[in-house]
Symmetry: C2
Subunit: 184 residues, 2 copies
């Protein structure tokens, strides 16, 4: 979203900032072919993958990032939703790609607006089906943490922190809600 849109993607003509008919805001418009280059928030989808939830060996899977931004910090497996998949399919795909993990989705858990970067972060609760994990190219290593071991000071993003905070709260209360909120 940070890119400055100067040319029409469809015909290559320099765009002009206009307010399209029936709208109220400036958009890059093509004076040649009429294409309007809409830029909208995008969805980041991921999971909170848990092994043996409620059991004696309960652990949360986190991935240590192998890419910038925040390389070396811990994150939940997540990434951009792609065309051709549902929110849940994207969340499961990212979990597979980043952690090599297979999960069963247990339901939508949170949708956190990250307005200043034009993103919505959507997390699903998930059950790890096995511990046969393998860090993908974007991950330095996988880690399995008890609630008391969560590396709060080494988390990559505020949305990851917030997602985990909400999960721990709900987990302790014994029931999971669906959370919507914004982080600044």
């Amino acid at each position: 979203m940070a890119v400055e849109i100067r040319f029409c993607r469809r015909c290559g003509t320099p765009t002009e900032q206009h307010i399209p008919d029936m709208e109220d805001r400036l958009r890059p418009c093509c004076p040649n072919c009429g294409y309007i280059d809409y830029v909208n928030p995008i969805n980041v989808v991921g999971t909170i993958p848990v092994w043996d939830e409620g059991g004696p060996d309960e652990r949360i899977l986190l991935c240590r990032r192998n890419i910038e931004p925040r390389k070396g910090y811990w994150t939940l497996p997540a990434g951009f939703l792609e065309l051709g998949e549902t929110l849940g399919e994207g969340a499961a795909r990212e979990t597979r790609e980043e952690a090599g993990a297979r999960v069963e989705l247990l339901g939508l858990f949170s949708a956190i607006d990250v307005v200043h970067v034009g993103q919505v972060h959507v997390l699903f609760r998930a059950r790890l089906l096995d511990l046969d994990l393998e860090a993908g190219p974007e991950t330095i290593e996988n880690g399995l943490f008890t609630i008391d071991e969560i590396p709060w000071d080494e988390l990559a993003f505020r949305t990851v922190r917030r997602g985990l905070e909400l999960w721990v709260e709900d987990h302790r209360s014994g029931s999971y809600a669906v959370h919507t909120e914004a982080v600044g």
Copy 2:
């Protein structure tokens, strides 16, 4: 999303289809400046605005569309999420723009994947604060319907139908869940 991407939006150079580093799918890439033109699903946000919910004058607000597609059919107020706003802010804005209605949001209700058009439709339950409504330019007329009057055969989109079906079911059961599903 239907547009064919032929030129770099940043520098105007013809793009080429490549698989970027660490990725697994073709994207339009600029051979000159390196810009990758990602196209991702976008969010449509709206409300299910209800007057006097649970009371004797209970009514659901629908808007008759003044624009294509599905001009003349009834819809819930909804539209594309914009940069600079949260899901809830976008849903309330669309409700104001299309119906002239002021609402209090009561919580996330559904996130329906519409995979074949690259959209996620997100609905919030909402309380109409007054009946001082005014159809916006995209709306022919507003309508207030009891549950028994919902014009099921004149609804604009399958996601609107599905959102209303889920709402009616939950309403009758006495408690609202958050729904995620896909429509074909």
